[in-house]
Symmetry: C2
Amino acid sequence: MSELQRRPTLMDVADAAGVSRALVSIVMRGAPGAAESTRQKVLQAANELGYRADSRARLLRSSRTKLLGLAFSSSQPFHAEIVDAAYAEASAKGYEITLSAVANGRPEARAIETLLDVGAEALIIIAPTLGPDDLALHARRVPVVSLLRDDVGQAVDSVSSDDRAGIALAVDHLVTLGHRRIVHVDGGTAVSSENRREAYRAEMIRRGLTPLVVPGGAGEEDGMEAGRTLQADLPTAVIAFNDRSALGIMECFKAAGISIPEDVSVIGYDDSHFAKLSYVQLTSVSQDAPLLAAAAVGRAVDRIEGVKSPGSVVGTPHLVIRKTTARAPEGNSDT
Amino acid sequence: MSELQRRPTLMDVADAAGVSRALVSIVMRGAPGAAESTRQKVLQAANELGYRADSRARLLRSSRTKLLGLAFSSSQPFHAEIVDAAYAEASAKGYEITLSAVANGRPEARAIETLLDVGAEALIIIAPTLGPDDLALHARRVPVVSLLRDDVGQAVDSVSSDDRAGIALAVDHLVTLGHRRIVHVDGGTAVSSENRREAYRAEMIRRGLTPLVVPGGAGEEDGMEAGRTLQADLPTAVIAFNDRSALGIMECFKAAGISIPEDVSVIGYDDSHFAKLSYVQLTSVSQDAPLLAAAAVGRAVDRIEGVKSPGSVVGTPHLVIRKTTARAPEGNSDT
DNA sequence: ATGTTCATCTAGATCGTTCTAGTCAAACCA
DNA sequence: TGGTTTGACTAGAACGATCTAGATGAACAT
């Protein structure tokens, strides 16, 4: 209610403490060049007035904004996990994070513009859909880090998870359990769907097995759809593009009276929140959100600060084995 | 790669077009006071240089930032839905949205500070956990709108969904289906858990039924836990605090061979993404994220622009009936 | 006494905008 | 003709911080 009060400025604090603006600035930044006694005096005055630096003014003057721009998709739970982790990592390195969501009527380009306008010193884009050329354009202004996607040209850094290794882990796990008829439900047009699909093909062939890919997508419904297709000629194991798809597949199977893992083993990808739920217990390839986030933030900060470091980082995923995978059913191995 | 290029300023455009900075500013803002011919000339120059206004400088000077600060919890899928809708609504009203997530090591207070620093003209906080006093403190600086929570004192506006009405809808639906033993699994310490719990109690008593509340929480695991408790003395219907909890309850029941909706009806709350999934088909109370978001944004904008409008808005939820509710089983009605 | 060093502090320019108060010429009116 | 209006444009002061260069005075060496 009532009128809104103007927020205090450096000048107000300076007046209150009886010193110059510049000195207050020094104290607030924790920069050297102020006597301990005055430092205390200034801090107290600032505190009493409830002073907080206006980041716009600060950043305007000091080209340093200490701001990392992070673009994510609001509909992807795995992105949310990364956002969480990124906050922690950034603040540990003395940076702030500004978010910009890619949502329904809000394309990636728009999200990026916003981040740039607000003064982000680097861009971290989770699963960018922009092409290498567009990304390169932005990279002329600020360092750009692509997260969860590595085919982004050489102008931008990338932090991704080794899809080949992840898929290999899944295949290996299943083969060890005696499976031979292993199909892959892919991610359709989703980012890195192609990587995983090809990794799966290569890995199967390497082991002398016949790859079989069923088209899918990134959501539960896509999984259900694929599940229906699979029922006609049931394999002994399924590797899904991600956890959400895996969930759809499993629900479809359950509805058809097919039990997991007795009849079919299912492996997801992302090790997301609900893979861990006690009633799901999905075996899944973990991309380790905190690790990826830390790498991306680290990479962005290195670039900003001019530290040389490798242009693209590839994290090695690991397999989290839960209750949806088991030995292949007897006498049902080969085609 | 190579060095990062300085972004062009108003001055650069002015030089290129052979006019003054001020005029460029006028043109870029679409303000009146420039001849059509020069307007074109300036726009072309700006375009060639790839000029974009530096929002920091702009906002610094023009106290108007046209920025709405939105604080949300990264772990709540329903919040993500609201974020989505808020973007659309804000841009329709000529405002931008800056996000700040409340995450693990990142308390609400911190999220709010960030929003303020960056120059948000109003704060929209989804399900604030801060007390009325703290909120009032911020409200002295900028308009504050609390979303999904209404007991926030009179210093801040609130946009919420009528929990009483929502619960009443659920109870009514079940009673119409012949249910009498209806229990409520509450949300524990979650925001608005108390509201729904009390609404449930009142509504049951009003109808001459005996209320029974089982402690729960906001997550799937809490639902499972409650589900186990319920098995001992199965009611004919359950109203869960939210969809996630409902999902847990249902999984627990399914695992115990209890079928839904034949043996027990279940109603969720939020009508979130996964309630709609074809294999879940959860009957749920819909809070209508787009509507709530629009109301909150509208409220914030009104306040900023000094338009008088009611201090708190209460949206009326509606019930989305799907496949988890059915007629009460015969001969199992009363205690 | 004089110069040098050092820590502490300050004046004023600066960042890239917007805003206020003009200037200037052409057009209009009496 | 001379005065007012109007439209197109500009100079220069903000906004609230940081940064550069320099002032001030105490401490110390010579």
